[in-house]
């Protein structure tokens, strides 16, 4: 009887409206989903970045914002939740400064000033002169 009922349903298939609901209830926008795909196709070597942006109709600005948000969220996740907000902020500033050194400083003649600013900011937060 029970198995007959299942057979009566014919070709079993999850309804599309269920998938639509999951997407609608998601806090992630359609643009963010597109940005993730751009990241994936570039990473997998399907297309270079410029071509991927044009194919998926994503602006460079939107993609940059997505990547910044994505990396920031990875950083937060990696630092876990067992440390105080102050230490979290200090480590975050130091990591951003190190990223800047690795990725940008070689082409920036003012890099010394930027790194110095990061150092001062990190020290001020650490010593409690800037509240977090």
């Amino acid at each position: 009887m029970f198995l007959d009922k299942l057979r009566n349903l014919g070709n079993l298939s999850e309804s599309a409206h269920i998938g639509e609901e999951l997407l609608e209830d998601s806090a992630v926008s359609a643009l963010e989903r597109k940005c993730l795909v751009v990241k994936q196709v570039v990473q997998d070597g399907d297309f270079p970045l410029e071509k991927a942006l044009s194919l998926y109709q994503v602006s460079l600005k939107d993609f940059e914002q997505f990547m910044a948000k994505h990396l920031a969220s990875e950083l937060k996740l990696s630092l876990s939740t067992d440390i105080s907000n102050k230490i979290l902020m200090v480590v975050t500033i130091d990591v951003v400064a190190e990223m800047y050194k690795h990725l940008v400083s070689t082409i920036d003649k003012d890099s010394g000033k930027i790194i110095e600013h990061f150092n001062t900011l990190s020290k001020s937060v650490n010593e409690g002169r800037i509240a977090v």
């Binding site: 349903l9 079993l12 999850e14 409206h17 269920i18 609901e21 992630v28 399907d46």
Partner: protein, 249 residues
């Protein structure tokens, strides 16, 4: 959303509590239901799952729902969990929810066989809540793959957007062939590039990232009419993380 696993052993008391919740348990009727579940599907907190589903569905249905747990002592063993209203065969009014837990080559998988909510109860959060409580058990039990047939009424497009990957190369080729007849040479070239890149790097690949096609504006209509078998590999951290972050965040 974070899902942490926990250990669980099903007891005969829990089986009785499941019956009291109004479920029928079929397939095995010699008071060894709990042994069957513990032996073949370790860490399955079946009572918790069924109690949670009851809590989710009860406020919406005044009429009774036929709730079944079918324990199939076959090779491989299966557990089918099904919820059917009396009008289950009517697309606009009937509720159908069917899930099958089974084994494939030593891997525990769950088939998302069928889930349809009546029109008047759609977009009220039922789908997401049902997914969540099942997902907790998938993590507990170490389910490797969630499988779905993406088909009918836009399913081929929607499940691709939900990060299911296409498992069968021939089905992907059929979609590619359809794209060749319907797209401009330039558009087709881009679609083919994604196909070639994946299968060149993964000649026996069973996880074609079809969401790369789904997000291309010119592929939407082609995928809406497509039919393919999909899966999410819960042991693949990227697939699992995409599904969790982008579907459940």
């Amino acid at each position: 959303m974070q899902v942490n696993s926990y250990s669980h052993i099903v007891t005969s008391e829990e089986i009785n509590k499941i019956l009291l919740l109004g479920y029928q348990i079929l397939g095995i009727d010699d008071d060894s239901e709990h042994d069957f579940i513990n032996r073949h599907f370790p860490n399955f907190d079946l009572f918790k799952l069924l109690e949670d589903i009851n809590t989710i569905l009860t406020p919406f249905w005044s009429t009774s729902i036929e709730k079944t747990v079918y324990l199939k002592d076959s090779q491989p063993p299966e557990i089918i969990i099904a919820f059917l209203t009396y009008d289950y065969s009517y697309e606009s009014t009937g509720l159908v929810l069917v899930r099958t837990f089974t084994w494939e080559q030593d891997h525990l998988i769950v088939k998302h066989d069928f889930f349809r909510i009546p029109v008047k109860f759609r977009r009220l959060g039922i789908a997401k809540n049902v997914f969540k409580v099942f997902l907790q058990q998938y993590v507990n039990m170490g389910v490797q793959k969630i499988k779905v047939l993406a088909s009918l009424a836009d399913g081929g497009y929607v499940w691709a957007l939900n990060y299911f990957t296409a498992t069968n190369k021939r089905e992907v080729e059929v979609i590619l062939e359809s794209a060749q007849t319907r797209l401009s040479p330039s558009e087709y070239g881009d679609v083919e590039q994604i196909f070639n890149n994946y299968y060149t790097n993964n000649p026996h690949g069973t996880a074609f990232p079809i969401q790369k096609w789904a997000e291309l504006p010119f592929m939407v209509d082609i995928l809406r009419g497509s039919s393919w078998n999909g899966a999410i590999d819960l042991n693949n951290s990227e697939q699992f993380s995409n599904f969790m972050s982008y579907v459940f965040r």
